[in-house]
């Protein structure tokens, strides 16, 4: 794991609505994430962690402050550049998987592969994900865990610099959640991607290199974890 700053969040403000209904979601966030780091954004509902993730993903924009990746500020990027940024650097994993319902497991992963000039070998990845025998199934023929694994496959096949995970275990049972977390951990270790995971499950922070606790749109704690444990050892 490199110590150099890869992702920098500086003075980030974000509000929704106007007048009386105006609600500040992010209020001056400042932090940085090193390359290859497994970073957990931890916080209760409404703390602004998903909004932060969306801004990092280039899906949403900040009102003030900026986010830079390897020194490139997202706010300086136009739509085309942001698309290219997402295409080249990001992988997304969602709580409810967001698979394309009319594509098979393999085809969903190919959706990600298409975006990369050098995708990982899909057959190997299917084996790694434990999905090889399910590769011709549609998402609605899979369990939640299998769907999430497909979602992870789609995100990592292009070997992105950053893997953004938004409550990836939020819809899964305990054992499946641990399996998925282990998978993400393995991916992080194997491919060296920077993982930014949003969760409200405090236990998950134990497997992270870096935990940022958010509340009311502000960073309450910024913890570097020197004693992280494997996902298989997590318990909650």
């Amino acid at each position: 794991m490199s110590e150099e700053t890869f992702l920098k969040v500086a003075g980030l403000y974000k509000a929704y609505g106007t007048g009386d209904s105006r609600q500040e979601v992010l209020r001056g966030l400042d932090f940085s994430v090193a390359k290859g780091e497994f970073c957990v954004l931890l916080g209760p509902s409404g703390s602004g962690k998903s909004t932060l993730l969306n801004i990092i993903g280039g899906i949403d924009s900040a009102d003030q402050g900026y986010i830079s990746i390897s020194g490139d500020k997202l706010e300086d990027m136009d739509e085309k550049a942001l698309t290219l940024y997402r295409r080249k650097h990001l992988g997304y994993v969602f709580q409810l998987y967001n698979l394309i319902p009319n594509l098979t497991v393999k085809e969903n992963i190919e959706v990600g592969a298409y975006l990369s000039d050098h995708p990982l070998p899909i057959e190997d990845l299917l084996h790694t994900l434990g999905l090889y025998e399910h590769r011709h199934k549609l998402p609605n023929q899979l369990s939640g865990g299998q769907q999430q694994r497909t979602s992870i496959g789609r995100a990592i096949i292009k070997n992105p610099d950053i893997l953004l995970c938004d409550e990836p275990t939020g819809a899964l049972d305990y054992n499946t959640s641990k399996e998925i977390l282990k998978l993400i951990e393995d991916v992080n270790q194997k491919y060296g991607n920077t993982v930014i995971m949003v969760t409200h499950n405090q236990a998950i922070s134990q497997m992270a290199d870096h935990t940022i606790k958010l509340r009311d749109g502000q960073v309450r704690k910024n913890i570097i974890n020197d004693n992280k444990i494997s996902a298989t050892d997590l318990d909650w």
Partner: protein, 924 residues
Amino acid sequence: MRNPLRKRLPRLLRQDGKKYIVLFLLLSITIGFISGMFVANDSMLLAAKAIITDNELEDGHFELEKQATDALKESFEEEGITLYDQFYKDFPEGQENGKNAEASAGSQQETVIRIFVNREQVNLSSILYGRLPERTGEIAIDRMHADNVGIKLEDTLYVGETPLRVVGLIALSDYSTLFKDNSDIMFDALTFDIGVVSREQFDALDAGITWQYAFRYTDRPANVNEEKEKSDDLMVQLAVLAATGGLYDDEDEAKAFADEADVIKGYGDVLKEAEKISDIIKPQQEELEELQKQAEEKGKELENLGQELEKLQTIVMTDPTQIPLLQEKAARAQTLQTQLQELIDTLTEKGQSLQDYLEQEEIKQVLDQAQEILDQDIDFDYWEEAADAVDRNGNKLVDYVPNYANSAIHFTTEDMSHDKVMAEYLLLILVVVLAFIFAITTSNMITADAAVIGTLRASGYTRGEMLRHYATLPILVTLFSALVGNLLGYTLFKEVVVAMYYNSYSLPLYETKWNADAFVQTTLWPVLIVTTINLLIIYRKMRIDPLKFMRRDLSVSKRKRAIRLPKWKFFTRFRTRIFLSNVTSYLVLILGIGFSMILLVFMVGMPATLRNYENKAADMLLAKYQYVLKSWQDEDDHPITTDQESAEPFDMCILNTIDGVRVDEEIYIYGYFRSDGFFQGVPEDMSGMDCYISRPYAEKFYLQVGDTITLKEPYGNQTYTFTVKGIHPHQANPAVFLTNRQYEEIFDTEEGAYTGFFSEEEITDIDPEQIAVVYTREDITKVTDQLQHSIGSLMDYFSYVCGLLALLLIYLLTKIIIEKNAGSISMVKVLGYTNKEISALYIRLTTIVVIVGTCLVTYGAMAFIRWIWRLFMNSYPGWFVFYMSAGDVVRCILIVIAAYLIVSFIDTRRIRRIPMTDALKNVE
């Protein structure tokens, strides 16, 4: 408490505003137009039908070769009809400034006006503007023709050379559609007009009269079937009565009479022959008698002289002076004896000569026959009187048109009824298409609301409540569209349709009638169809368990396995998956395009068909000019000939079909003299009942070589059965071709007789009085001229309306498809797909579907319209095929593609606007 979900409906309406506005516009405008058509149609039909009772409409009419005598008319009326003289004269029509009326109508053909005397008892006129003519110099003409060619009240109209002031614009009850002849395929309001004048004016107009008689039954038939039966009987009776001068009304009796008359005529011929013989032998007999008398006188004188000589011989013995006297008397006796011998010789010779003449076989036969005839005691006076009656009252039925078969009376109502049925079907198809669009929209809404529905169902909301909630909007929008449509129908669109009908038909003034049927057809049916289809689809969705709803698993059936796709490129597979998962929407899209294409093919194909018919009109005629003569011989029994080099005689008559796709279709029977002239393509010789038929006949009646066809006389029961030996590419009419020898044998015509001439050049050396009719290219194209005038301009306009309809339908359906896939589109955007790539997936797929679908439905739509066209042509006399050139087909496709390009531009923008946050909304 009322279901609180209802508060959501206005928001849903706003949320999907564009879609509902398009649906509302489509439905309300269609319903408006159809409703307008129904209201106008039914109101005008009522007015048209009221004419039958109010204007003393005829039960039929017929034409005779010459004016019927009172005796013949009396015999006609004894058949249970009342006759009304309805004579007319045809003239060229011209306008005040010297131009012909047709010039303003853009036609090349001369306009003909048919002049009647003011009707007072039957087929009365409806006055639309002005009044009926009361004195000489005045005329009232057909309102529609006047509109078409720009004649107004007080204009001066030239009837032939006679200027008449137009004092009225009328609609004649027996000419609600201006058919010049009942056999015409189409009416002709451009170059045909009718007018009424006073009796004095009629008599003053100089032209040949057509002896037409209208009739009404004294005992009216109870129904149409009875009317047809009665009419058929009457036609035969009238034909027989006319032919027999009123002596017989029964065909068999007339035939027996004719046969007997033939025999009697034969007897007469024999007696005449016998009389000739008698005339020959009578002077001879008289001479013989004279000779015999002379011989007898000489003999007597000789006998007396002999007695005197005996006495003188006795006297001479006593008185010798008497010797000279004796010698003188003896010499005289010698002379007398010589003379007597000469007389006897002459008598013997002449007697023998007469005897020889009378003993000739043919003379003897004639005399024997004459004796037999005289022995029969035949009442020759009766037969002489009968022959006189036939000669005096005899006539020929040349035309017979019962009311029910009169196109001029019924075309309007039938055509309006056809329009109505067509409109009903169009509305039905469009409503079904829109009902499916509503259903797909609602289905997608349910998919989007799945979690909410699951939660509500889990909370205790019933299936019925959810079903009613989701069915409400489609039903309300349809109901509202129907109400607005009906409102438009009774106001704006009714006037549009009325104008269309007044442009084509000579109809009386009408009153708008409330039309319950229109309300049912345009309101209840659409609402019922939309409700049923939506309820069925929503009900099917609502059968899913609440838990599955919450899990967004809305597959109604067991989980489907993914179809394995070949190893295509990734984007190709992706597009295929999109297609497969949206197959219903794409099918409805193709259905919608198909519906638009049916209308479009009709709108583009109709003028194309007319143009094609016009362009080929010259080729369709056997000759440029077809002259039909009144008789092939002049008054001196000399054949009528021409020096025109291109002229060629032909035989022609008309027979009617008795079966097949249309009964009573007029088939032209031609007898050709040469197979290498105007009838090229027919064999030089045929025999028996073999024939060639024209292509239109073969196409209309599905005839092939080897088939047999049976035709009957139009005004009799004689039938003829022919065997088809070949098909001739003559395009104009259903026709049969025979050699002139066959024609003469089959129709028992005089050897060498002909009906008229075909010619490439105008024939100028035949007296016009001897010509019955001339057919030229314009006679063929008057059908298309009229149709072009009635609907031609509308068709172009409506083809773009169809393009707009296609645009709206494609817009709705692609919008639905994109909305359904908004989540996936948003997701791939999040993943980093560019708009170009997303368009390559979704827009290109839709483009492929639209292009392939358009090509397929174009073929289907053309097949459908061809089928409809055939049904239409089967209902009317004549035949021409529905035609679209490759260019016309391409034009139809391009209109749809152009509509799609506009939609795809909108869709591209729509895809671009799908926010990436849509993909994330599901997460929260």
